[in-house]
């Protein structure tokens, strides 16, 4: 299993699908779902401060990787959605960012 969290996002990464995507998905927390060319993870958290704090930590990772998620947050929850618009679906970059998000705990 590749250690995705140690990799860096690459420009112009090609789309991944099928067994290659399934193998990459197995390297992530089981909380991630792959649906319609996107990776999604939902967090149930305490109050408003925890979702905001996690969103900011994810935002900093995203800037470092130059790969940007959609984030939805409110009292008690945060949802993260990853895709690569330029590839029209998932690339290895999405799995790399997901693996780094997993390491935030």
């Amino acid at each position: 299993m590749a250690n995705l969290s140690r990799e860096r996002s690459q420009p112009d990464a090609p789309a991944v699908a099928g067994e290659a995507a399934a193998e990459l998905l197995r390297g992530l927390s089981p909380d991630w779902r792959s649906e319609e060319g996107r990776l999604r993870r939902e967090y149930r958290l305490r109050g408003f401060g925890e979702p905001v704090a996690l969103a900011v930590r994810i935002a900093l990772l995203a800037e470092r990787e130059d790969h940007h998620p959609e984030l939805r947050l409110g009292y008690g929850h945060l949802e993260v959605e990853l895709t690569t618009h330029s590839a029209g679906g998932l690339t290895r970059n999405d799995f790399i960012l997901a693996a780094k998000i997993d390491e935030l705990g």
Copy 2:
């Protein structure tokens, strides 16, 4: 016109609807839409940093008012949604927070 941005949110604020809600809406930026018991505003912003920064500023306001929005953000955009779950719709608190958000520019 009440200067909503100078008010503070109140616990157990009652629901507002009809002409009372329409009058409060006129006190906000025209970018706010009132739909299905919610106030919504969409921002088109630059890059990822601007949406994240505005979301954090709104989050700090929300904590101060103890009234919490739903925020959705990604590259180039931020959406804010306000409602009062305990009232099953809009209360004056939603308009107060919206007015304070407007003052962020």
